[in-house]
């Protein structure tokens, strides 16, 4: 396949994944804000903007007025925000058009249909009463595209590049959420075990759609170390770092089988993958959670770049 098409598949799925993850973040933020008084709610909305690295752009647009509608409309649809959910969906669709010949009609139609619906839903500012519907739409689009992929695509190189895009992006997103919220998970003197802590912890889980899975596995007990372990090391949870990397390993392995040789990115992956097999959550906390996550994000970026280089995504 063309290097440019591999690039298109990779980014089509990165953008879709990112749009989905952003919408989960908004949902978690919205829920937090609902349960707080006005000034705390505003703090929650600000923290969402910070998590997404949009503080400067947002304040240039709205000043320090962190109201819900300002924040979620900025994240969802603002033209001044090149990383808006709408922009991501448009980018995804542009990539899908570019690789139209590499995807099935079902996959193309679910991408195109999702884009048309979202464009319509985001044509005007979204009021709080419709926010739930819009977020639902974003999630449903991802689910639909994934389903179409699963059900109709050949398991070949094209599929593997698509999946690698998804998992590189998902690992990055989970790590970034951990990176901004890590202090919530650190043992602290003042707040340990208060109900506020519980809400904060649950919010971290909610941001990655893991609250139910975690509760189910832990019989309702919340503890920060357990949550960190769950999001980093639990290979059963589809948004954990370990899960993303086990998938990346199998996608890269199947590429190597198809092509008959391994590339430099395979080596990088093996090194990165080791850390999940040998690491314990105790070790990670000892090393420093923040440091661990920072290192992971850098390594993940390096892996993505190496894949792009090894498979000639660009000249």
């Amino acid at each position: 396949m063309l290097g440019r098409s591999a690039n298109g598949m990779f980014w089509l799925f990165r953008y879709l994944e990112r749009a989905e993850n952003i919408s989960r973040l908004i949902e978690a933020g919205f829920r937090m804000a609902l349960t707080r008084d006005a000034s705390d709610a505003s703090d929650e909305w600000r923290s969402l903007i910070v998590t997404l690295g949009l503080r400067r752009a947002f304040e240039a647009r709205h000043g320090k007025e962190y109201t819900g509608p300002h924040v979620f409309n900025f994240i969802l649809r603002d033209r001044d925000n090149p990383g808006s959910v709408l922009a991501m969906t448009e980018e995804a669709r542009t990539n899908a058009r570019m690789v139209r010949g590499g995807i099935t009609r079902e996959v193309w139609e679910s991408v195109n249909d999702g884009w048309m619906r979202l464009k319509e839903a985001l044509a005007r500012p979204v009021p709080e009463t419709r926010l739930g519907d819009v977020l639902d739409l974003v999630r449903r689009q991802s689910t639909q595209v994934r389903g179409a992929m699963e059900g109709t695509m050949l398991r070949n190189e094209i599929y593997n590049f698509a999946r690698m895009g998804s998992f590189i992006e998902r690992a990055d997103n989970t790590a970034r959420i951990l990176d901004v919220k890590y202090y919530v998970l650190l043992p602290s003197v003042s707040y340990v075990g208060t109900s506020l802590d519980n809400v904060q912890w649950e919010n971290v889980l909610r941001s990655v759609a893991g609250e139910r899975a975690y509760r189910w596995l832990n019989a309702g007990r919340m503890d920060p170390r357990g949550i960190a372990e769950f999001l980093i090391l639990d290979g059963r949870f589809p948004r954990s770092l370990a899960f993303c990397y086990s998938k990346l390993r199998s996608n890269l392995a199947s590429l190597a089988r198809e092509y008959g040789n391994e590339m430099h990115c395979h080596e990088i992956l093996r090194d990165a993958d080791c850390q999940f097999h040998q690491a314990t959550i105790e070790g990670i906390f000892e090393q420093g959670l923040h440091e661990f996550i920072g290192k992971f994000i850098r390594a993940n970026t390096a892996l993505a770049l190496q894949i792009q280089r090894d498979y000639r995504f660009t000249e």
Binding site: L2, M98, R100, R105, R312, E315
Partner: protein, 477 residues
């Protein structure tokens, strides 16, 4: 059903309102449908086109970056007998076009014989000196041709234009049929219509038959070269590549390697044998033509002349569909085939000739005037529907550069009904059959693309100017 227009030949109805034989089966079915159902199917079809992304881009129109070409559900029907005659005429014309191109780039017998003035070639940008003395692989110049036909009476089909460069629209021919079959399957069990769906396979086969000398394999690698996703016909490029199982490449994917054109794949550079390019000559090779082009491949012309790749259509074929050359097509057909032309030209005045210019200026209000190098319905004058002011402005342009224009009578194009809110209403149509040329022969897909002027009375069928399309049927015997 509304009456046919008194001034034009209606393909469905006789002047007395009775149904012509070609439409007998269709009309019987149509009468059994409720208007409501047909309208609902119409909006279903539109939603279907949007969802599948069958759109075209309009240049310079930011709001409507992607538009749909309106689809009308009433098919355009040609009988088997009419089609046989048309195919013979098309076959003859396409043979002549290829022989003409070969001659122009070699001995120019037609100029020597005095049948074609040499001045038509001198300084004509469509004539490429780079092609002189070179014969493309298999001797084929126009691998894909679209012949635009108009009809003015029962047996009067005329060629309005030959598209010998990169004719587009075949994806609409295919999707229109798919749509009709999906919406009205029972209709196709009642009326036997000849298949068009194997066009991509025939195209792939036809292109593969023109592999260059450097190709050593039995299965040549074919790729479609597109200017990219912002091109107006991108959908079609992607569609055809997909249907042929060929790679869809852009200039930036390609480079010259060991005397071949190679595409950058995830496993390294791989040579291409046949390049179906949907990029104009001018942009094909920045080293040879427009140096600013980023759409083409630097050095591809050298590779081409060295036998490393087949370019379809061959560079320089544009000289054959130049509108100034068009008026010589009857002579061209006769010169190369030794036969009388089966299909007639539309009478054409070459404004470069003093006598013709005088006639055109005297009768401007009754004529259609076209730019010699124009296309897409831009830059043309339709006398009868133009204001005094527009006529005067055009007259000034004509006087300033007469050689830049040709004129034709305003034809009363045939009509086929479209479905409107008020029921069926006649609208003017043309027809573009698609023709494939390979060393194995000429292959004409039965039917083609029918374009229809959706505005009442309008004669402009171009999609960029509010035209729509119809499914085109050739009846099976």
């Amino acid at each position: 059903m509304t009456k046919p227009l008194p001034s034009s030949y209606d393909e469905m109805l006789n002047a007395d309102g009775s149904v012509r034989p070609a439409y007998a089966g269709y009309c019987q079915w149509h009468d059994e449908q409720t208007p409501d159902l047909l309208r609902r199917k119409g909006s279903e079809a539109e939603a279907f086109f949007r969802r599948t992304g069958i759109t075209f881009n309009v240049y310079g129109n930011e709001d409507a970056e992607e538009r749909l070409i309106p689809f009308d559900m009433v098919p355009r029907i040609v009988t088997a007998q009419q089609w046989r005659k048309l195919s013979r005429g098309i076959d003859q014309r396409v043979r002549a076009l290829n022989a003409f191109l070969h001659d122009l780039y070699h001995r120019q017998e037609i100029v020597r014989s005095g049948r074609l003035p040499a001045r038509l070639l001198k300084g004509n940008v469509a004539f490429l000196p780079e092609m002189v003395g070179f014969t493309p692989p298999g001797g084929v110049y126009t691998h894909i041709v679209g012949i635009d036909l108009v009809r003015t009476g029962e047996d009067d089909f005329m060629v309005l234009e030959d598209n010998a460069r990169t004719p587009s629209g075949v994806s609409y021919m295919l999707e229109n049929r798919e749509t009709m079959m999906a919406m009205f399957p029972e209709l196709f069990t009642r009326v036997r219509v000849r298949e068009v769906s194997d066009y991509p396979r025939r195209l792939a086969r036809s292109l593969a038959a023109c592999a260059p000398p450097a190709c050593k394999s039995n299965t040549p690698v074919v790729a479609v070269l597109t200017p990219g996703i912002y091109n107006s016909a991108y959908f079609e490029h992607a569609f055809l590549a997909d249907q042929m199982g060929a790679e869809l490449v852009e200039g930036s994917d390609l480079r010259v390697e060991n005397g071949r054109i190679a595409m950058r794949t995830t496993r390294g550079y791989q040579p291409i044998d046949v390049l179906y390019r949907r990029v104009d000559d001018e942009y094909l090779d920045p080293l040879t033509f427009n140096p600013g082009s980023v759409l083409g491949v630097p050095g591809i012309m050298d590779v081409y002349r060295g036998g490393g790749i087949t370019i379809a259509n061959a560079p320089g074929t544009g000289i054959a569909d130049d509108k100034a050359i068009y008026s010589f097509m009857p002579e061209i057909v006769e010169f190369y085939t030794g036969e009388k032309p089966i299909l007639q030209n539309v009478p054409t005045w070459r404004c470069s000739e003093a006598e013709a210019l005088k006639y055109v200026l005297d009768n401007l209000a009754d004529l259609v005037v076209k730019e010699v190098h124009g296309s897409g319905g831009y830059g043309m004058l339709i006398g009868p529907t133009s204001s005094k002011k527009e006529l005067a402005a055009f007259e000034a342009k004509l006087r300033a550069r007469p050689e830049n224009y040709i004129a034709q009578p305003t034809l009363s194009l045939s009509t086929v009904p479209i479905l409107t809110r008020a029921g069926l209403a006649p609208r003017h149509v043309d027809l573009r059959p698609f023709v494939l040329v390979s060393p194995n022969g000429i292959d004409i897909t039965p039917g083609g693309l029918t374009r229809v002027a959706l505005k009442k009375g309008s004669l402009v069928v171009n999609s960029s100017q509010g035209g729509g399309t119809k499914d085109s049927w050739v009846l099976d015997d």
